[in-house]
């Protein structure tokens, strides 16, 4: 359960995020959409305590994120390629993250085996450092790394961008499987309305830092969103 209370983030006089009250129940697959500058990444950064809120706070499973670090073991994320360590090979990176999350090599290998399809033979055993992989392949590595260590909250910022069509389809499957587990909350942001309506039970639209729509996904949702963004 993630609870947001009176959360604002201001840079100077400009308010980039203003969320009065937002609750994301445990196990929900939550989609965040909005144009550039709507505040999606700001919200995720606040959730990960990478920036400080100007007021208010976020609680992640009862832990206030900017005062305690207890949320870290249950939360994992992939925001952008700055989450990768360029001079490691993908395997070394996975093992490193595994080490941090208390998983040994065998655990990590077992997890990676499930993603053989998703990797499409382009990630493991390539003898390449992460910095030398293409943007799409870097993204694949980063997304899978965020599944290591049985996290209860998974945060993915724009996971579909830069991926090829096959991978996008596979990723949708993976996110759906993950969301189907009762105790895993998945937070996804995207510019792609079709993808996000397909994988998320609930969609929140941000505009200039404020929630303008909060929809339980149905067959009508895509039309509603398209109408909103066309407007």
């Amino acid at each position: 359960m993630i609870t947001v209370q009176n959360l604002t983030k201001k840079y100077g006089t400009q308010t980039v995020l203003n969320l009065e009250n937002l609750e994301i129940p445990t196990g929900q697959s939550f989609g965040l959409v909005g144009n550039n500058g709507a505040g999606k990444t700001t919200f995720f950064s606040l959730l990960l305590d990478l920036i400080q809120p100007s007021s208010g706070h976020i609680e992640n499973n009862g832990v206030q994120v900017n005062t305690s670090e207890e949320w870290k073991p249950i939360t994992s994320s992939f925001i952008d390629e700055t989450f990768l360590i360029g001079y490691l090979t993908p395997e070394e990176y996975f093992y490193f993250i595994g080490d941090l999350r208390g998983q040994n090599k065998a655990d990590v290998d077992a997890l990676l085996a499930q993603f053989a399809d998703f990797f499409h033979g382009e990630i493991l055993g390539q003898k390449k450092y992460l910095r030398d992989l293409s943007k799409g392949n870097q993204k694949k590595a980063g997304i899978v790394a965020s599944f290591i260590g049985n996290p209860q909250v998974v945060i993915l910022d724009e996971p579909f961008a830069n991926l090829d069509p096959t991978t996008q389809i596979r990723l949708k499957g993976i996110i759906k499987d993950l969301a189907a587990k009762d105790n895993v909350t998945v937070l996804v942001s995207s510019h792609d309305l079709i993808h996000v309506t397909e994988v998320c039970e609930r969609i929140v639209v941000l505009n200039k830092g404020e929630v303008v729509k909060d929809i339980k996904t149905s067959t009508e949702t895509l039309k509603e969103l398209e109408a909103f963004f066309a407007g």
Binding site: L48, I51, T75, S77, F83, I85, T89, L100, R101
Partner: protein, 489 residues
């Protein structure tokens, strides 16, 4: 066309991130640059008198000619590190209607105006002016200068050709060492072979054609080479190294620390800038020779304390001052991960400790210059271990400038801020002052013992100190994350 290229060059220089640095750093760097140029020009002007004094029975021109071969070799060696062909810049032009030949000429022409070529001019022009005042024939000196400039350009272009292989570097390094050894031990005089050849450039102005033709020839080879390679896939792509995976299993012995230790070792070994820090640090073992071999410094104990702190702590300051900026490109990941900050810092401290001990072991041969050398180095090493490591880690929390790991290390000021200059005070100056004080007030032995005691005290308090440092890092976290994200920092 060339004018347009030149204006782009101008913009790229003045809009570069380096110019956006804080004022204090800019002024300091400017000061250093002017200082270097003045020293270079002064040594150029003074070289004549220096050579006349050193070898009174022959013309300074002759003496200089004997050593020019070493200048050529050493310059080639150094440039290997410093100068790269800036091929990446031409990527945007590939799809524009610009002839490949003009792109190639532009790139090569640009490298002729590189700072490294200008540096030699700062030395040779004052030297030539002094020659003229000393009554050397104007024509000869003028053509000699032209010849030297042609040689500089030849070195410049030769470097662009050989820069692609590491083998060339070791070959040149090998030639330098072997020929100097041959000269030094009087087996075979390289100086006497090349001396007359270089002197010929002065004695017979017509020979200026030789270096000129050489320069044009090497330029042409470069041009040919480049012209055929202006494709995205051929040369413009930075080389991708094959990853060699190693799991460094022995680091597991350090328990939780092992994870970070492994990461640090890989970071150092797989990135240009950090890797060269290691080599540079190792080379600084010889720094002491400059002072220990000179009589003037024989009784200057504070100087020896400086050497002790500096030599045993070279990696400590080179590497330590940029902690945690080394991890800047993925710092936000580190901060959102389940990372015990304390372990992260301990791993860095362990790494630096090992380097201090290793550097101390390497400086043991200085005992040849007297037991004081060994004692002072030991005291300084202990001080570095106990006091300077926590100090430098503490100062690291003020680092907010991003470092791109895979960029060339030389002349690379990334990550530098006023902080880097401030660090010098506690790390280098304080121990020297302490040493000097006790040395003059009481004795050398006491001064060394004081350093040792301070070092041991620091080691004993290591845990408490690291706790304080960890708190500091926690407090500064948001500033660091924001700072490290700025690519043009």
């Amino acid at each position: 066309m060339f004018k347009r290229f030149a204006s782009l060059q101008w913009k790229s220089f003045f809009r570069s991130a380096n110019l956006g640095k804080s004022l204090a750093v800019k002024i300091l760097m400017g000061f250093f640059a002017v200082y270097m140029l003045v020293v270079l020009a002064a040594s150029g002007a003074g070289m004549y008198f220096l050579l006349r004094k050193a070898v009174p029975d022959q013309s300074p021109m002759w003496t200089l000619s004997q050593y020019l071969i070493y200048w050529v070799l050493i310059e080639l060696f150094l440039r290997y590190f410093m100068q790269k062909l800036p091929v990446m810049d031409i990527k945007p032009f590939l799809t524009t209607p610009v002839k490949k030949s003009s792109i190639a000429h532009y790139i090569l022409g640009r490298s002729a105006a590189s700072i490294y070529n200008l540096l030699s001019l700062f030395f040779f022009i004052p030297f030539c002016i002094v020659l003229l005042f000393q009554g050397y024939s104007g024509i000869n000196v003028l053509f000699w200068l032209v010849a030297i400039m042609a040689i500089v350009l030849s070195i410049n272009y030769l470097n662009l050709l050989i820069n692609k292989s590491d083998k060339a570097l070791s070959v040149i390094g090998g030639i330098i060492v072997i020929s100097y050894a041959l000269d030094y031990f009087g087996v075979f005089s390289i100086k006497d072979v090349f001396g007359p050849i270089f002197h010929g450039l002065y004695a017979y102005p017509i020979t200026v054609l030789v270096p000129l033709v050489l320069a044009v020839f090497i330029y042409y080879i470069n041009y040919k080479f480049l012209h055929d390679k202006i494709y995205l896939d051929a040369n413009l792509k930075p080389k991708k190294v094959q990853a060699n995976t190693s799991d460094l299993a022995w680091t597991k012995r350090f328990g939780d620390l092992g994870t970070f230790l492994q990461l640090d070792l890989k970071m150092i070994w797989r990135n240009k800038r950090t890797k060269s820090q290691v080599w540079i640090s190792l080379l600084f073992v010889f720094y002491g020779l400059i002072f220990y071999t000179q009589e003037i410094y024989a009784n200057m104990m504070p100087m020896k304390a400086f050497l002790g702190v500096f030599m045993t702590g070279i990696f400590l300051s080179n590497f330590g001052q940029f902690i945690p900026a080394w991890d800047s490109s993925y710092y936000s990941m580190m901060m959102s991960q389940n990372i015990p900050l304390r372990k992260y810092l301990e791993s860095k401290a362990l790494l630096i400790s090992v380097s201090v001990i290793f550097m101390f072991l390497l400086t043991i041969p200085y005992v040849y210059f007297g037991w004081e050398a060994l004692a002072i180095n030991f005291g300084c090493a202990l001080y570095n271990l106990g006091v300077n490591i926590p100090v430098i880690l503490y100062f690291g929390s003020f680092n907010k400038k991003r470092i791109e790991l895979d960029q060339s290390p030389f002349g690379n000021m990334q990550g530098t801020s006023a902080n880097q200059f401030l660090i010098m005070v506690p790390v280098l100056i304080v121990p020297i002052l302490i040493f000097t004080l006790f040395y003059y007030l009481i004795s050398l032995e006491v001064a060394v013992i004081v350093l040792c005691v301070l070092g041991l005290a620091g080691l004993a308090l290591r845990n408490t100190l690291l706790d304080k440092v960890t708190d500091q890092y926690r407090k500064k976290k948001y500033g660091m994350i924001a700072g490290f994200k700025e690519k043009n920092g």
